[in-house]
């Protein structure tokens, strides 16, 4: 029998070097896009601030010193002090822990739950799919910020409840996204082939559908972190998020509002922190989308 045995493709070493080239290409693209790089650097900086807050802070964020209330920025208090004499710089530094972890928690939980439910829904189809879709439609029909506020208020004002509320409202977006992907993927040859090899429904969802539905979900998640930080701050601002004395940016801006005419520094610094952090996540998310999904570029 005359069957060719050589294969006209690259050796495994070449492929490995190709793979490292692809990773290299990813970093090349990040470097080529200054805004993505800027976003990434700020995120990295913020993550460091969050991790090393106890060392970076100059004061105990909750130490009250009524003798030094509402002092303007100075060498002792870089961002000034608040109405009970707490150091605003230290509170902004510790506030990063609250805000950024809310962002990651919400996106993590909503992303994982949403993707699983969406992929399941899309791949089983039929009545279960219809039911899940109508449920998401119902949630999506209410403006998301209003619903988040209502939920947070109903659950009771605390940072954890605010996180829970934001997560619940974010889940349907991921369900929709993942289901759309699953609908396309379940018609692919490898899903059909997996069925002919006797694969169970769970195996198909786990190994074939979720895996291939991930790229757009990852992009969506990166973009969502910034928005989530903003929503958490907004909830804090209207008093439905973190409560005093916890150092949280939204709550600080809200309290600072009462003193804004004479003491500009109180609201300014936590506000800037919110602005910079959520913008940098958005810049980074946009960049990631351009790299992972070139078809969407420029939209």
């Amino acid at each position: 029998m005359n069957v060719s045995t050589e294969h006209p493709i690259a050796s495994i070493e070449e492929v490995k070097s190709q793979r490292s080239k692809r990773i290299g290409y990813f970093f090349y693209r990040v470097r080529k896009s200054p805004l993505t790089l800027l976003g990434a650097s700020i995120i990295l900086f913020m993550l460091c601030v969050m991790l090393f807050a106890p060392w970076l802070a100059t004061h105990d964020p909750n130490a009250i010193d009524l003798m030094k209330r509402l002092q303007p920025p100075s060498a002792a208090h870089w961002f000034g002090t608040d109405e009970v004499g707490r150091d605003i710089y230290s509170r902004v530094v510790f506030g990063s822990q609250q805000s950024i972890s809310v962002g990651f928690f919400v996106v993590g939980v909503a992303g994982v739950v949403g993707t699983l439910v969406g992929c399941f829904s899309g791949s089983v189809g039929g009545r279960i799919d219809g039911l899940i879709m109508r449920l998401t439609d119902t949630i999506l029909s209410v403006p998301s910020l209003v619903l988040t506020m209502a939920l947070a208020a109903a659950l009771g004002a605390s940072l954890f409840n605010a996180m829970l509320a934001i997560t619940l409202v974010r889940i349907p977006y991921y369900v929709r996204l993942a289901r759309g992907q699953a609908l396309g993927i379940r018609e692919m040859g490898y899903v059909k082939a997996a069925r002919t090899f006797g694969a169970s429904r769970w195996h198909i969802v786990r190994w074939h559908i979720v895996r291939n539905a991930l790229p757009p979900v990852v992009v969506q998640a990166t973009l969502d972190i910034g928005g989530t930080i903003l929503v958490a701050a907004a909830l804090g601002f209207i008093g439905l998020g973190a409560q005093q004395p916890t150092a949280e940016w939204g709550t600080m801006v809200a309290t600072g509002r009462n003193y804004i005419l004479d003491h500009w520094w109180y609201s300014l610094f936590p506000g800037l922190a919110i602005l910079i952090t959520s913008t940098s996540f958005n810049l980074f998310g946009d960049g990631i989308r351009d790299i992972l999904d070139p078809k969407q570029r420029g939209k």
């Binding site: 294969h7 493709i9 495994i12 082939a193 002919t196 190994w207």
Partner: protein, 331 residues
Amino acid sequence: MDSRTVLSIKDLSIEFPLYEGTLKALNGVSLTVKQGEIVGIVGESGSGKSITAMMTMRLLGEGSYRVRTGSIDMLGVDILKASEKEICELRGGDVAMIFQEPMTALNPTRKVGKQMVDVIRRHQRVSKGQAEEIAAGLLSDMHFADPEDILARYPFELSGGMRQRVLIALAFSCNPKVIIADEPTTALDVTVQKQVLMLLKKMAAERKTAILFITHDMAVVSQFCDRVYVMYAGSLIESGSTRKVLHSPRHPYTRGLLAALPETAAPGTQLKSIPGSVPDLSKLPVGCAFQSRCSQSSEKCHQKPALAEAPQTDAHLCACWHPLTDLEAVA
């Protein structure tokens, strides 16, 4: 049922309820496949050959079709009545399938080895390491020079012919008794097609695996199949050994198909074709589906001819009121 029969379809009629009416996809299809036999189903697009293949493993979407009559017996399991669990045990175990599009039949995000190990461990109680050894052995049977290397690759790193060989290796991974091959070589170029067919035939012969081979390519049938069924508009119209059917076709449609092969035409002459086109499956004529295109048709053709033994032959069946004789066929 003969103990050597692995697949037996009896009088199977399938229809698809559509908005415009009922699409009669299969009309009284009966066929058998014996152990170790390579049986071809040949027919043009829309003749029902792929539906037949899908039905043997009940892969059509539940609820999208209706079974009017008939039964399918695959290795003693009543496919139309079995539970989903029984069918899942059968799929990939005793029965495997090879598809038309090797480019999409492997998951692009997982390594070939991982996917092969999944299938092997689905049906055999072996450890991961053992499964990898089995996979490597199968790949070297498929003439891969370096099986370990292939196992560590992602599907996009392989060519179409290589992927189809991987899929054939997968199909053989649990020593199936039957393989359903639905146009496995259609997407490949001719040289790769030959290579893949030779491997498939060799593997089947070594393991005594029966193959139900679906194709539209007469040349492939003549090289590959022991027996062949010719299908037209959802019915089987002729069956018999490959040699008999291809060398002395009895049914006017089969003869028309063979006459239309470019190889038979003299250079410079126009290629022959069968006049007319395939009837709409939702508006099939009463009687023989081929009557409107047939030069032999008569009043009698308004009744449906049964698949009956052709004159002067044994085991060469033909569903026609006016079967051709050898002399006419040769002419």
